[in-house]
């Protein structure tokens, strides 16, 4: 019964006269498969060797080359950047020194100006003080003069009021003597 079912299955699946269960062991199809396999292998081989492999290896070589070039260029740029940085540092140092110098100069100039202004101011102050002293002295002298005048006049008037004859010269001498005490 099983064989019958088996046979029926074979008949259903069957092709040709073979009653072989496994299609893999159906030798009548072998030449066909081998022929088409050979054809497709040759096709793939031709596609690969004629078109694909040169293209891919070309691209890979080109990429490796451009990567190397880029690395070299990057190295060069790095060198340049280093140089630029050094130049910048140098310029910065110079500018700093310049600034230092300008600051020093300015400071010196300012000190000079200051000294000059101080000297001028001191001279002026001294002149003013001398002037003031001179005027004070004058004022004092004139004040003493007027005091002597007043004393003489007062003494003359007193003497006349008391009924005496005033000797002007004697009164002057007396007042001078008293004032000198």
């Amino acid at each position: 019964m099983a064989t019958e079912a088996e046979d029926a299955a074979h008949a259903a699946a069957g092709h040709g006269a073979e009653a072989v269960g496994m299609p893999q062991l159906d030798f009548s199809t072998f030449p066909n498969q081998i022929f088409w396999l050979a054809v497709s292998l040759v096709l793939i081989y031709l596609i690969l060797t004629r078109i694909a492999l040169p293209r891919i290896s070309g691209v890979l070589a080109e990429r490796a080359g451009s990567i190397t070039n880029d690395l070299l260029a990057a190295e060069e740029l790095k060198q340049k950047a280093k140089e630029a940085e050094a130049a910048y540092e140098r310029a910065l140092a110079e500018a700093r020194a310049e600034a230092q110098r300008i600051v020093g100069e300015t400071r010196a100039e300012m000190a000079r100006d200051l000294a000059a202004a101080t000297a001028r101011a001191e001279a002026e102050i001294a002149a003013r003080a001398a002037e003031s002293e001179r005027r004070i002295a004058a004022i004092r002298a004139s004040a003493m003069e007027s005091v002597a005048e007043v004393a003489r006049d007062t003494a003359l008037a007193l003497v006349e009021a008391l009924g005496g004859r005033a000797e002007e010269a004697a009164v002057h001498a007396a007042v001078e003597a008293r004032l000198r005490e």
């Binding site: 019964m1 064989t3 072989v20 269960g21 496994m22 062991l25």
Partner: protein, 78 residues
């Protein structure tokens, strides 16, 4: 009747042949397990041995495939 006995023998043989697959499973497991324990001990050397690993798996597995083939032959070709 006689055909039935032959058929029975073929099917029994096919089933018995499938036991060979267990052997292949043990073999593949052994290969991968040993690879893994070696790789965990020395991970830096593991990458270089993957090719060997796959070759080992392929050899171990081929025998399981042979037993499968014997089963198929018994079922369909005898």
């Amino acid at each position: 009747m006689e055909g039935d006995i032959v058929q029975m023998g073929a099917y029994l043989g096919a089933g018995l042949a499938c036991m060979g697959m267990g052997g292949a499973a043990v073999g593949v497991g052994n290969v991968v397990g040993n690879y893994l324990s070696g790789a965990l001990r020395n991970p830096s050397a593991a990458a270089g041995q993957t090719a060997t690993l796959f070759i080992g798996i392929a050899f171990a597995e081929a025998l399981g495939i042979f037993s499968f083939l014997v089963a198929l032959l018994l079922m369909f070709a005898v």
